[in-house]
Symmetry: C2
Subunit: 102 residues, 2 copies
DNA sequence: CATAAAGTTCGATGATCGTCGTATCATGCG
DNA sequence: CGCATGATACGACGATCATCGAACTTTATG
C-alpha cells in the first residue's frame, strides 16, 4: 500500500477520534460511507479550498480511515470500513449513526 | 443543574469526539465507567498537575460527558452514560471498548 | 508541445490546545 | 480565627490546527 496508510493494527484511537472530531472531515466520511463507490477528492466539500480539502484527506488517510489511490488525474478515496471495524468494532458505525442525529 | 452541564439534547458530537481524542481524558472516562461510584477529581490521573487535571475535567464536563458536584471540599464526578447514550447510542460503548483494545 | 484539470506543497495567519506554576477561593477542622 | 485540603482562575509557553492563496507537479488531451 502507498505510504501514509497505516496497517489495520496500527490505527490509533486518538488519531481516529481527532480526525472525526472535525465536522468537515466527518461529513466527508459520512458521504464516503453512503456512496460506497470511490469518488475523486474534488467531489467532496465544495465549499472549502483545494488545499484545505487536501489537508483534511491527509488527516483522514494518516488516521487510517481512508484509502487513496491515483486514477488518471484524480485521486480516489475509499472508506476503510472493514479495517477500522476490525480494530475498533462498532466505533465507525456509532459515529456515522451519530452524524445523522446531530 | 449547575452551569457548564449541557442538556442531553445539546451534547455536541464534535465536542464529545474532541474530548475523547485525548488519551488522558479517555483514561479518566474509562476509569469513571469502570468504577460507577463517584470519586473526587483528585483520585484520577495522578501523573499530571492539578491545574491540568482541572482543565481536562472542564472539557469533559462542557462536552456533556461528565457531571460534577461539590461534596465537602471535593468535587465528585459521574459519567453521564445514560444522557450520552440517549443522544448518541452506542458511541460511548464503542469508544470504551476501543480503549481496552488500543 | 501547449493547455487544462486535479492535487500537493509551502508559507502564513489567527485560533485552539495541553501543560505548567502560582495565586486564589471555598470548605472543613483544630 | 488560623490552617490545611481540594479544586479553580490566570497567565504563559510551545505545539498543533484549520484555513487560505500562490506556486508547483502530474496526468491527460488538444
Amino acid at each position: 500500500m502507498t505510504p501514509d496508510h497505516p496497517d489495520s493494527d496500527e490505527i490509533d484511537l486518538s488519531a481516529v477520534l481527532h480526525a472525526l472530531s472535525d465536522p468537515q472531515r466527518r461529513g466527508i466520511v459520512a458521504e464516503l460511507a453512503a456512496s460506497e463507490i470511490p469518488r475523486p477528492c474534488g467531489s467532496f466539500a465544495p465549499a472549502i479550498t483545494k488545499s484545505t480539502r487536501s489537508h483534511h484527506f491527509r488527516v483522514l488517510r494518516e488516521a487510517g480511515l481512508v484509502e487513496q489511490w491515483m486514477e488518471g488525474t484524480s485521486k480516489m478515496s475509499r472508506l476503510r470500513r472493514d479495517e477500522v471495524d476490525a480494530r475498533f468494532p462498532g466505533l465507525l458505525d456509532s459515529v456515522l449513526r451519530s452524524v445523522a442525529v446531530g
